[in-house]
């Protein structure tokens, strides 16, 4: 029977450990809460959750500086890039949402809008560049990270932008490159780089892109019947006929081939510069130009993410969150971090652009001169690029017999299904 007792005591011990541990947790959180509330004029500790993994480290450093300067605490959470939105939803759903978080425009912010705090009265939002804020029913609810832009990123040694002005000259260049054993234009297999971005141009060139998307969703118009799309299909034919099959190219190899001069142009954005930089200094060799569809001479510029404040947080937390965002967008330390450490092209008028890389410089200049087309793709139905448009594009590039015209019909078909 001695052994039985031993076993019993082990069992009780395990159970005890479990309960004790659980209790330990309780008192821990309770302490934290009371500590924050009793801190005099110190603001309540807040949490911040955002999608851009690349800025996590500088953000953590910045928050440390914030604490040194003001005494207030911000905890930065983290998630791998493609797991962010799903984790955000799960956390909001169990009332453990962050105080400040990031959202993408379009369907994502539409879905989450009931969580946004109205920021219209805050000082820092007054500096947001025209039309760059996130709005819900005329109230400003989100502050842009920065502006980003995409177009044709080209190698100056191989391409003269003056010679890429329309379908004919574009096709000619691709043919010439093919003859020289180079890849004229590279897309890559990731859904946005394969179809999302390049399909943006014909949408953005419509007189009212949002209305067009709406009509498309309702089945009132068809891409196949629209002029810009018909020409776009011919561009796609030229790419399919003369360039390397993008299905065999990954973002990594796309940028590698471009950096090593095997590819003349890539359809990419200013964010790709950080990858090019890993291959050595090529600032003098690269530039960004518009995708020359239907006479288009503008870069596609938009905002990929906004900061918003969770309205489920209590009033003290919202206050602290506003204080942090205000500090981020108006203090010298904050502004400097946005430009130098996050490497964003600022979307607030009170922030000077820093030392920009050549791609960001092109985007910045386009923004300042107003020579831009919008990111219509933000308003595509939720999930459509990855789940519907990309598979159709894969079929186009895999199926030797499929023409651009048929591709366009296929896109109409999957769009109709997805927007139902």
């Amino acid at each position: 029977m001695k052994k039985v007792k031993k076993v019993l005591s082990v069992l009780t011990a395990t159970a005890l450990v479990a309960t004790l541990a659980a209790c330990g947790g309780t008192s821990g959180t309770a302490d934290k809460d009371s500590g924050a509330a009793s801190g005099g004029d110190k603001l309540k500790k807040i949490t911040l959750f955002q999608s851009k993994v690349e800025i996590t480290e500088p953000l953590e450093a910045l928050v440390k500086t914030y604490k040194e300067e003001t005494g207030n605490e911000v905890e930065v959470w983290g998630a791998a890039g493609d797991a962010y939105s799903q984790q955000l939803v799960a956390k909001l759903g169990s009332n453990q949402g962050p105080t400040i978080f990031s959202v993408a425009p379009g369907p994502e912010s539409e879905k989450l809008k009931s969580y946004f705090t109205d920021l219209s009265g805050e000082e820092y939002v007054k500096n947001i560049a025209p039309d760059m804020e996130l709005k819900v029913e005329d109230k400003t609810v989100g502050v842009p990270y920065g502006v980003e832009g995409f177009g044709l990123v080209y190698n100056k040694d191989l391409v003269d932008p003056a010679n890429v002005k329309d379908l004919d000259s574009f096709t000619k260049l691709l043919e010439q490159m093919k003859a020289e054993g180079k890849n004229g234009l590279s897309l890559s297999q990731e859904a946005y780089f394969l179809i999302g971005h390049i399909l943006n141009t014909p949408f953005a060139l419509q007189s009212d892109p949002l209305a067009f998307i709406d009509q498309l969703n309702k089945g009132e118009v068809k891409m196949a019947d629209t002029k810009e799309f018909q020409e776009w299909a011919k561009f796609m034919d030229a790419i399919k006929a003369n360039a390397k099959n993008p299905m065999e190219v990954k973002y990594d190899s796309q940028m590698g081939d471009f950096a090593t001069g095997k590819t003349a142009m890539v359809h990419q954005g200013n964010w790709s510069y950080s990858m090019l930089a890993d291959f050595g200094d090529m600032d003098s060799k690269i530039g960004m130009m518009p995708f020359p569809l239907a006479g288009n001479d503008k870069l596609a510029v938009g905002v990929a993410s906004y900061w918003v404040i969770n309205n489920q947080a209590d009033a003290d937390e919202v206050k602290a969150a506003n204080a942090f965002l205000n500090w981020l967008f108006t203090s010298d330390t904050g502004k400097k971090a946005i430009v130098d450490d996050f490497k964003f092209i600022p979307a607030l008028t009170n922030i000077e652009a820093g030392n920009l890389d050549p791609l960001s410089q092109a985007v910045h200049e386009a923004t300042n001169s107003g020579q831009t087309i919008p990111w219509a793709l933000n308003y595509f139905p939720s999930g459509i690029i990855t789940n519907d448009l990309a598979p159709a594009t894969q079929e186009f590039f895999m199926n030797k017999d499929m023409t651009g015209e048929q591709f366009l019909q296929k896109l109409d078909e999957v769009w109709a299904k997805a927007s139902k």
Partner: protein, 278 residues
């Protein structure tokens, strides 16, 4: 002749094992390359074996804190599930009635539910427990351990159930006649006989929990609580991966489990040797 045959088999076996391990090899060599070198050739040996990416990966991941967190969560979860599941499975095998059959099949059937469909309701249940019973199920290691036990229990019960059936009932009956209670019978007679399957359950669960990303990512938010897989998020952007640090981080993640496995495996072999002598 027999001897050479054996040698040959040895060599074939090892060769096969090496081919089998080639992806691990790819992981290792690429943890030493920068982006340009990786682009050149993903399969070639690195030009230099500097451990800088390991160092930076460890710093970013806050490796030792994460290691401690992972150890705590994994070890406690696995011990609890072994204790609870072996007891449950034994009772279910030895009690031959409808109820225990229903319980067993419920355990088995739930193994077929994709986790993604449980996660939202699960978070809501845990939030309900937190706000109504004031037990902090979310953003604590203990809450995660609780959920881990729940999710690993089906497989553990299933495995124990299968093996307990081969334990002769006669032994237990003899012990009962000697005046042992059920607890005594189980822990003195039955559990020691289940050593092999216990080690198996331990190995499988240690690995599954050690590598788990999704559940911890939903329940743990604070930086100080992150387990090892959670801490590797720094290397995974939406479109890019910092390959060398990601591979280095992954290598660092699996080293503890490899050590554990080699240790546990010795234990199995010892158990067999002991059994053979009897």
């Amino acid at each position: 002749m027999k001897k050479t045959g054996k040698w040959l088999l040895d060599i074939v076996l090892l060769l096969f094992a090496i081919v089998f391990l080639s992806p691990v090899f790819i992981m290792l060599i690429n943890s030493f390359k920068d982006r340009a070198e990786l682009y050149e050739n993903a399969l070639a040996f690195p030009s230099s074996f500097s451990f800088e990416y390991y160092k930076s990966a460890m710093e970013k991941m806050n490796f030792f804190t994460a290691l401690g967190n992972s150890l705590y969560v994994t070890v406690v979860s696995v011990i609890l599930v072994i204790v609870l599941a072996s007891m449950t499975a034994w009772m279910l095998v030895r009690t031959d009635n409808k109820l225990s059959k229903i319980i067993f099949f419920t355990f088995v059937a739930t193994m077929l539910i994709p986790f993604q469909t449980l996660m939202m309701p699960l978070m809501q249940v845990m939030d309900w427990i937190r706000s109504n019973l004031h037990i902090p199920m979310l953003n604590t290691h203990e809450g995660l351990i609780y959920m881990n036990v729940g999710f690993t229990s089906s497989m553990a019960v299933f495995l124990y159930h299968g093996f307990i059936k081969s334990v002769p009932v006669a032994l237990e009956e003899a012990a009962t006649l000697d005046g042992c209670s059920k607890l005594g019978v189980f822990w003195r007679i039955v559990f020691p006989l289940l050593k092999n399957i216990t080690v198996t359950v331990a190995i499988l669960n240690v690995i599954a929990l050690w590598n788990d990303y999704l559940l911890p990512s939903l329940t743990l938010s604070d930086k100080g609580l992150r387990t090892i897989p959670l801490s590797t998020f720094y290397f995974f952007g939406e479109f890019t991966i910092v390959w060398n640090q990601a591979m280095a981080g992954l290598t660092l993640t699996i080293i503890p489990v490899v050590i554990f496995y080699i240790f546990a495996q010795k234990y199995i072999i010892k158990g067999i040797a002991a059994g053979a002598v009897k």
